[in-house]
């Protein structure tokens, strides 16, 4: 019971820090700039580009793909901001010296960002419906919703890896920026993965989003769970693997730090 309480406390504190991280820009203009303008203009840009290149009939392909990719904004940057806050608030050394369950601590960082990711995608989908007439009458809405939840979880898994890197590299955010935009190229957001060279296709399928976006496109076209279960299972597995990699790195760094390797990192 006591152990459960302790872990709940760790989870709660970590969630609070994520909340603070999430809303550290929380002025009205910050919200409008990064949670409204940025998603809207990203969708508009790629739709107009896609329409110019391939015709108006493909507008929805680009709109849906980019709306789904928006979850990576929360999944990657949100987690890094959380770690940065742990550093700034000085809670990291305290955390490491505590008997709290490491796995709970680690995973709790992603919690709020998953919720935020889902919310961002929903905003993107609403824009897509309003501006480009995404027709959801034939869509399997529940399945689409499930796909959105899954990709939010898996991109947060990727984010957790960057969070661990961010413990020792102050400039992990630079890598995160690059990866965020790399997702636009390799994950089938703006063109099919099959058009990429073989090596990049391998990269595509080892990243989150690729399978999940495909599943979501199928769901929007009316597919059933049975049709996309393989894709969703694969997507979840990839997300878990990234999160696991991040966790292993986290524990390794903790052990290294304890031996005096990286005191200044904290």
């Amino acid at each position: 019971m006591r152990r459960l309480g302790l872990e709940a406390a760790v989870f709660a504190r970590s969630t609070f820090l994520q909340y603070v991280a999430l809303f550290q820009w929380a002025t009205v203009n910050g919200y409008i700039a990064y949670k409204v303008l940025l998603p809207v203009t990203q969708i508009l840009f790629f739709v107009e580009l896609g329409v110019y290149a391939t015709g108006r009939q493909n507008a929805l392909y680009f709109a849906l793909g980019n709306a789904l990719q928006l979850t990576a904004n929360a999944g990657i940057f949100g987690v890094i901001a959380t770690v940065a806050n742990e550093r700034q608030y000085g809670t990291l050394p305290i955390l490491l010296a505590s008997p709290a369950n490491r796995l709970v601590t680690f995973l709790s960082r992603a919690f709020v960002n998953v919720i935020d990711g889902i919310a961002t995608v929903v905003i993107g989908l609403v824009i897509t419906v309003v501006l480009f007439g995404l027709d959801l009458h034939h869509a399997n809405l529940a399945l689409l919703g499930l796909c959105v939840v899954v990709i939010s979880i898996t991109t947060a898994g990727l984010g957790l890896m960057f969070g661990s890197i961010g413990l020792v590299m102050r400039d992990a955010i630079i890598i995160a920026n690059v990866v965020y935009y790399l997702l636009l190229i390799v994950c089938g957001i703006n063109f099919p993965v099959s058009r990429l060279p073989g090596v990049l296709q391998l990269v595509a399928y080892s990243l989150p989003l690729t399978r999940g976006v495909q599943a979501a496109r199928d769901a929007a076209a009316g597919a059933s769970l049975a049709n996309v279960s393989g894709l969703l299972a694969g997507e979840l597995a990839i997300g878990v693997l990234w999160a696991l990699g991040g966790y292993v790195l986290f524990r390794a760094l903790e052990s290294w730090a304890r031996r005096g390797g990286l005191q200044e990192a904290y």
């Binding site: 203009n29 940025l38 508009l44 190229i185």
Partner: protein, 260 residues
């Protein structure tokens, strides 16, 4: 003469600091390449024409150039504030705008470099070329585009220093600028009201001239486009003049120059 020397020194120092900064490579090299890649894949979908592909050749470079102009050059004053040197340079006998002149020029120097890797990527990756390049018109158009970015960056620097929300808004609207200025597809495909908004942005006209200098299809009116771009740029500078006065005054009243 001493003012020119101060501006030159600011230029040299900024170049040096950009060369050793990891972030600067992100803005002028990595992001442009990433966007060039997406752009080329999309533009090359299903048998694109060569006039489509020119947007892939130059689009990445334009994106990199703009990013540098508003992020690096536009944050010229904020940069000093974050570094803790704003008070020191503010209290020298050299006016802030002279120092900014040097810093903005240095920033734009890196921005122009964006065209090289992105054009090389377009050529080697997609065999995309500029089909009917008119070198003189291209160079003049690039010069006019540089003038527009220069004037915008000089105007943004005091704006960002006075009101942080302005940076957030322009940062959030970054892809909106790509749309309205026609970086990766022509402004003509936009709705009429959007074309009207695009028309008051100086880079829109310079970008139009830049692309027109690479294709044979007309109609072209380079002189008009260059003049409109230049006139709008000068209009921004008039605004900048008042903003610098405001920064000076505001800084000396509030005493917040040292606050990051």
């Amino acid at each position: 003469m001493s003012l020119a020397r101060a501006a030159w020194r600011a230029f040299v120092i900024t170049i040096r600091m950009r060369v050793i900064s990891q972030w600067s490579y992100l803005t002028w090299l990595v992001f442009p390449l990433l966007f060039a890649a997406v752009g080329l894949y999309v533009l090359n979908s299903g048998g694109a024409s060569s006039s489509h592909l020119v947007y892939g050749v130059l689009g990445g470079g334009l994106i990199g150039y703009w990013s540098v102009a508003y992020i690096d050059a536009g944050n010229g004053i904020q940069d000093e504030r974050w570094n803790g040197t704003l008070e020191q340079i503010f209290a020298t006998p050299t006016p802030l705008w002279v120092i900014l002149l040097g810093k903005v020029c240095a920033g734009l120097f890196f921005g122009v470099l964006s065209f090289l890797p992105t054009a090389a990527f377009a050529y080697f990756g997609f065999h995309a070329v500029l089909p009917a390049l008119d070198p003189w018109k291209f160079v003049i158009s690039l010069g006019v585009l540089t003038l527009t970015f220069f004037c915008i960056a000089l105007t943004l620097a005091p704006l960002f220093a006075l009101w942080r929300w302005a940076f957030n808004m322009i940062n959030g609207f970054e892809l909106g600028v790509y749309i309205l200025c026609g970086f990766m597809f022509p402004v003509a495909v936009l709705a009429p009201w959007a074309q009207g908004v695009a028309a008051v942005l100086a880079p829109t006209w310079a970008v139009r001239a830049l692309y027109a200098s690479t294709v044979a299809e007309g109609p072209h009116d380079f002189t008009m486009w260059w003049l409109v771009a230049a006139a709008l740029s000068v209009a921004y500078l008039v605004g900048a003049y008042f903003l610098y006065g405001l920064v000076e005054r505001e800084a000396r009243v509030s005493g917040e120059l040292a606050l990051a």
